[in-house]
Amino acid sequence: MNCNDHAFLNLNADQRFAITRRTFLQRSAGGIGLAALGSLVGDARANTHFAPKAKRIIYLFQSGAPSQMDLFDPKPGLEKHRGIDLPDSIRRGQRLTTMTSGQKTFPVAPSMFKFTQHGKGGAWMSELLPHLSGVADDLCVVRSMFTEAINHDPAITFMQTGFQLAGRPSIGSWLGYGLGSENADLPAYVVLTSFGTGRRDDQPLYDRLWSAGFLPSKHQGVKFRNTGDPVLYLSNPPGVDRETRRETLDELSALNGKRFDVLRDPEIQTRVAQYEMAFRMQASVPDLTDISTEPKSVLDAYGPDVKTPGTYAANCLLARRLAERDVRFVQLFHMGWDHHGGLPNAIRGQCRDTDQPTAALIRDLKQRGLLEDTLIVWGGEFGRTVYSQGTLTADNYGRDHHPRCFTMFLAGAGVKGGTTLGATDEFCYNITENPVHVHDLNATILHLMGVDHTRLVYRYQGRDFRLTDIHGELVKPILA
């Protein structure tokens, strides 16, 4: 921890004294074994407000917004409304994006996919999810999510930070800030991205979605690259092998130590510790991403894409390996769910990408006893409209953005599996039972991690900020 660091300054004087004194008294001895103060990793603290149910989170973000009524929220009654204009009594002046606000008609488009119930809990899922339906009793499906934004950038920013505009910390950064890391050799917040085959040129992502906002920048998510080193600049240049790197680091530590003897600034020792951490990451990250020791049965379970780096399947397996290593917050972003037109084909592609690996991840974690303390969250930034964007035909339709209701699911630690929460009206347009706002979801996620969302605060520009702003109610029915 750096003396100029916000978090440091916000400690009380005793804590601060203890840290600076400790850092100050540590002397360089070849630079090995120093406490990793100020690191973005290895900053272990058990600072929960109450006993956590979950030690870590795997958040499977489906970017672009999947259609709830084609996956989880069946509306068989819509057939009789096929092609008719969405009644005003349902739309109630809801604002629309300018992509469809000029449309003359809003023809109701029933889903063309078959739904059946699954598991003891009887969760409804469409034929697009043959694998997830096999783990239905592990899922808590929330069909009554709603949000405030109607376009992707503000909506996804809202999901991640509790605010529609850029600049606030992301949920993973908040958790890293509040809880620290459980692993000394890996970042506390890892981001993995993949493109969907449903729509290759779909909505982009932005690094700010996992940024630390105004929290110290060490809390920002580390995006693993899909090509080359997963962590930037991890590999030594040609001609410098691991032994040579060890030698150069020893030399570097020796020189830094001599400077410390002159200037006595503890920051020098912190830097030495960071170089040691970097050296350890150079071993721990390749070990993490080397899946050659995974048995064939495991690889098969995740499906054929698992061996292609940068696919959702490969990222799901990587998420499990990160969970095994106690990385606090792993977030996958799978793009390609924005189906304004040609939805049936596009959503088939998306489900082919994600259904099997998601189910495999849940089973894999369960088999290893990790699902007990790992929380899984699955969902996008909003839902999609019941009316068709563009012409509705027998086998084709599109759907615009819809903030008033959408479906997410949770699984694992502290979550009541085999349940379905909330309901929507016959047009899947408005929520009729148990509305869950984005702030409520985030409050609940923090709760499962042992954190009271009203008490995880950070002082910035004179104000105490929270992930949930001044809102957020715990969603009790989903808690086990």
Binding site: D5, N10, Y206, G228, T454
Partner: protein, 994 residues
């Protein structure tokens, strides 16, 4: 580490002394503000129990529970009773607020009430006073006024200043601070050899005069102005504002007075006879993010842009958190929601659309922008304009002459049916698109929704002579769509010249013409539905004999399948006419109005060979002109609407919930706008630098102070409000602010004053005692020591290695960048690829590095640069393993190490020791100590042994980066020295200003 009390830490250095009376601003306001004002402060809507505690009168009048306190009598004061209560329903602050008072805070409040409960106006809203320089004991230490204030405080605290830093440390420190680059060995030698009493002062003069000074100063300003090269939202396309960035560099180098610097950036366009530079300066407030997502509601984002301007202005000039007053009255500071929107009214009259540049025909900037043509471009454009005007004039004359025979032609037009003969698709190749050749045409399905494809169609025509070609997209129950980007037709290998025409309901000629201009930026979208199909008609420049044609269509934004058909006709070109003309032709000649007659006659005239030639010429000239126009550099600027927009208070900040209308005004708490000042941005700009305004001079000198000492005198440089930190040296801050105004807002003079002080020149060596007493160095009993900014770390490596290209300004450049970062988050868009620059572009100073907001340069982020999404006036400084990996392995630094090694070999003599010493000198401005030299020499010997037996490793290491080192140098020696140089570049001392 969950609940933190921010202000406790500062009490260590700022608290009252025993026996001294408490000071409201220093001791009491922070407590009341943090714990009470949210419910008992300026925000009337949220006020609980009708009690207001931020004003003494209101507190004494009290609320529902009576007066808040009885001055002098804490035990009788309601406030005391409530804060010590053990009843959960009574105690204040209420437990659910999570704002419990500490025992010390309760004691402070008790003491303050017993001392009379006196209030003071908040320090920042009182005009600064120029205090007498305080007396000091150790007058010999003092070099200028700064030192009097600092030393007086140190003496009061029983501390003594540190000795002056050694000469090498000092020149490196001040050179880094004023230029962002390390001193060269020659500069160090000159300084070491200069025994004049004012050697240091002359050094400072040289640095202030260096053009590098403007670059260094610009970096902080670019953070504050949220400068970037992309729009920031969604696909995050490019914008062009670098001419504004260059203006900033020039302004600092020319030492433009800060008041003028302010006025030109806020309102340069409104100055009388505004110059081009003054208009470029207004780019400051176009730096905000801009949304170009297809479905957005423009009003919503217009509200965001204007709010961003208010918040940025308030942060940069007033250090006030106006964003808190966007949805409700400020909870801590005396600003109302109305104040916020009255400020917004100044910025709400800009001729902007609210949506970004998506589809803008002119380069990439969204209006308003300023065109910056070169002289040559201006000349060429004028010539083309004249040529177009002349051709149009000729067209008018020729039209008048060619009017004969209209009736006969109209008759023919009305009675002749256009005959189209469909061609037979022999073969269609369309990449990944799905193709099915059917009897009625070719069904082509876009590979993915939104994708691009090229359809290469071989079509057989058995008909005779053909004058024109028709391409048609039909629905056939498929619901597909695409955009036509380009159409090319070939006979064998020869490309035919095409001319867009209209026939019946075909696509408008103007639209179709764009499809032929080669720019591939058209909006000719075809989305056939049911009965309606889309067709484009292209006339051949010369009729062709019936033959096989190859028709190539570039399509973009495709989605779903469509049925494509291609046909030709042998009709007389005079008979191609749009439906509207056809309808007129079919109308009884006697019933045509004069206007209709003229329209028909004009159209007919244009069909004559002479006029068609003219028409073609105008089309060609216009295309040339448009192409040239797109090449003209532009920069975003502010520009007033002729008719101001109305501005409303937005309820809860929501764009679609307008409340009362407001007009432009400055906040009531601060001195008002001069009576004769215009109620526009110019009036606002002058108010921002009016010496009567207590904030701007203080806020600005505080930031300048921060730039060299690492922390401002007010550490919360962005917040001088009640929740901000009180100044560590208020009298010094005020003295500097007065001095700043007194010197005519002279920025260089302020920098000179600060860096020539004895305070600045102290050694930064820390002792255990000093570290315990003042870990943050707020009292300044030692010199500043902190990690350099990311830009300076890279620039230093480039400079020391000799790679740095010193050219100032110009378009942003793309140096080394890890591959795949853009591609991983942005697909299918030209914005989604980082195309690395070449040659010089790899080694320019870091402030010229292309800044994409959605994926900022990762090395800069690693070293704590902000995303540049919103105004930032203070960067954090962290210390992480990613920084270590970056400095060890980024090709930027590996290449720099190789070049540093080359310099060590060329300039450092023959022995390893002398070479290493040279490297040390180049980077750190000092000679290595013998122990240091021993470590590095041993490292060199070790590495040399390794590289001698590793030819592949040697050549691999020497190949990192694109610049080439001298191949005549011994490769193993160069490689070994490269690793030594890398160690030097990784030293804590290297990345730190000491």
């Amino acid at each position: 580490m969950i609940r933190r009390a921010a202000l406790i830490a500062t009490a260590l250095t700022l608290g009252a002394h025993a026996g001294e009376k408490l000071a409201f601003n220093r001791d009491v306001r922070p407590i009341l503000s943090d714990k009470c004002f949210a419910c008992h402060g300026p925000d009337a809507a949220q006020r609980k129990g009708k009690l207001r505690l931020d004003q003494r009168d209101a507190a004494l009048t009290g609320g529902e529970s009576g007066a808040a306190f009885v001055p002098g009598k804490p035990d009788e004061s309601e406030v005391m009773k409530r804060i010590v209560s053990t009843d959960r329903d009574e105690v204040m602050p209420p437990p659910k607020a999570h704002k419990a008072l500490t025992a010390a805070q309760r004691e402070t409040l008790r003491r303050w009430i017993s001392e009379g409960a006196e209030y003071e106006p908040h320090w920042a809203f009182i005009a600064p006073k120029r205090a007498e320089l305080p007396p000091v004991k150790n007058a010999a230490w003092v070099k200028n006024a700064v030192d009097r204030f600092i030393l007086a405080r140190l003496e009061r605290e029983g501390l003594t200043p540190s000795p002056e830093a050694d000469v090498a440390t000092l020149i490196r420190r001040v050179t880094l601070d004023l230029t962002g680059l390390p001193p060269t060995p020659e500069e160090v030698n000159t300084f070491l050899g200069d025994t004049g009493a004012d050697a240091y002062e002359r050094l400072v003069e040289r640095l202030l005069a260096s053009p590098r000074y403007g670059e260094r100063m610009a970096i902080d300003w670019l953070d504050a102005a949220r400068f970037a090269d992309s729009n920031g939202y969604q696909v995050d396309r490019d914008r062009e504002l670098w001419p504004w960035r260059d203006w900033v560099i020039r302004a600092f180098n020319e030492n433009k007075p800060f008041d003028q610097f302010t006025i030109e950036q806020i309102a340069g366009d409104l100055l009388p006879n505004a110059t081009r530079d003054q208009r470029i300066a207004t780019g400051f407030h176009r730096n905000h993010m801009m949304n170009e997502e297809g479905g957005i509601i423009a009003e919503e984002f217009l509200a965001e842009y204007t709010a961003d301007r208010v918040e940025t202005t308030a942060t940069v000039w007033l250090a006030q958190t106006f964003n808190c007053a966007r949805c409700h009255d400020h909870k801590y500071d005396p600003f109302t929601q109305r104040d916020f929107y009255a400020m917004k009214a100044f910025f709400h009259n800009v001729s902007e659309k609210g949506i970004g540049s998506y589809g803008s025909p002119i380069r990439i900037n969204a209006p308003p922008f300023l065109r910056l043509p070169t002289d040559e471009q201006t000349k060429k454009l004028a010539t083309l304009d004249a040529d177009i005007a002349a051709a149009k004039k000729q067209l008018v004359t020729a039209t008048a002459e060619a009017n004969s025979g209209t009736d006969e032609w109209a008759q023919r037009l009305a009675t002749t049916e256009m005959k189209w003969t469909p061609g037979e698709f022999v073969k269609v190749e369309a990449g990944k698109a799905l193709v099915e050749v059917r009897p009625d045409g070719a069904r082509i399905e876009a590979p993915n929704p939104g994708s691009a494809f090229t359809a290469n169609c071989s079509v057989r025509f058995s008909a005779g002579r053909a004058t024109a070609l028709k391409i048609e997209c039909a629905d056939a129950g498929m619901s597909g769509t695409a955009r036509w980007l380009d159409v090319r037709v070939f006979v064998g290998k020869q490309q035919l010249k095409l001319r867009a025409v209209e026939s019946g309901d075909s696509i408008a000629k103007a639209e179709l013409t764009k499809t032929l201009d080669g720019a591939k930026q058209t909006f000719t979208t075809v989305a056939p539905r049911e009965a309606k199909s889309f067709a484009g008609v292209f006339e051949f420049a010369e009729p062709i004999a019936g033959t096989d044609l190859r028709v190539v269509i570039d399509a973009g934004y495709g989605s779903g399948p469509m049925l494509w058909r291609i046909a030709t006709t042998g009709s007389d070109p005079e008979l191609f006419a749009p439906s509207a003309i056809l309808a007129l032709a079919k109308k009884d000649a006697a019933k045509r109005t004069p206007a209709e007659k003229k329209r028909l006659a004009d159209f007919h005239a244009q069909q004559s060979p002479a006029l068609r030639a003219l028409d073609d010429r105008i089309t060609a000239l216009t295309q040339q002109r448009d192409k040239l126009d797109r090449e003209v550099q532009t920069t975003l600027v502010m520009e007033e609407l002729p008719q101001p927009r109305q501005t409303f208070v937005l309820m809860r900040g929501a764009y679609d919930k307008p409340g009362d209308e407001v007009t432009a005004a400055t906040p009531a708490t601060l001195p008002s706008l001069a009576a004769d000042a215009p109620r526009n941005r110019l009036g606002l700009a002058r108010w921002l630098v009016d010496p009567a305004n207590p904030l701007p001079a203080r806020v600005t000198v505080n930031r300048l102070w921060q730039s060299v000492f690492g922390a401002g005198l007010v550490k919360t440089a962005e917040d001088f409000g009640a929740q901000g930190e009180a100044p560590s040296h208020l009298e010094l801050l005020d003295w500097l602010a007065m001095e700043f105004v007194h010197t005519g807002w002279d920025v260089k003079a302020m920098m000179r004053l600060v860096v020539t002080s004895a305070t600045y020149r102290q050694s930064s060596r820390l002792t255990a005692a000093l570290h315990e007493r003042d870990p943050e160095n707020r009292l300044l009993a030692r010199g500043p020591r902190f990690r350099l900014a990311g830009e300076a770390i890279r620039d230093q490596a480039l400079a020391a290695s000799g790679l740095l290209v010193g050219r100032i300004g110009g378009p942003s450049v793309k140096p080394y960048h890890p591959p795949g970062l853009y591609e991983q988050v942005v697909a299918g868009s030209s914005a989604g690829t980082y195309v690395q620059g070449k040659g010089d572009e790899l080694h320019r100073r870091s402030l010229y590095t292309y800044w994409k907001r959605s994926v900022p340069n990762p090395a800069m982020l690693t070293f704590d640069a902000p995303f540049r999404e919103t105004c930032t006036v203070r960067r954090p400084r962290t210390n992480t393993p990613l920084q270590a990996l970056n400095l060890m392995n980024d090709p930027t630094y590996v290449e720099a190490a190789r070049f540093l090694a080359q310099r060590m070999m060329r300039e450092g003599g023959e022995s390893p020791e002398s070479r290493i010493a040279r490297g040390f000198q180049l980077v750190l401005a000092r000679a290595p100590k013998s122990a240091e030299l021993a470590v590095l020499t041993a490292a060199y010997v070790r590495a040399l042994g390794e590289f001698r037996s590793d030819a592949a490793g040697t050549s691999g290491l020497l190949k990192v980066g694109e610049a080439t080192t001298d191949t005549r140098l011994d490769a193993a020696q160069l490689a070994a020295l490269t690793t030594v140089a890398s160690t030097i570049l990784n030293l804590d001392e290297t990345v730190t200003k000491e």
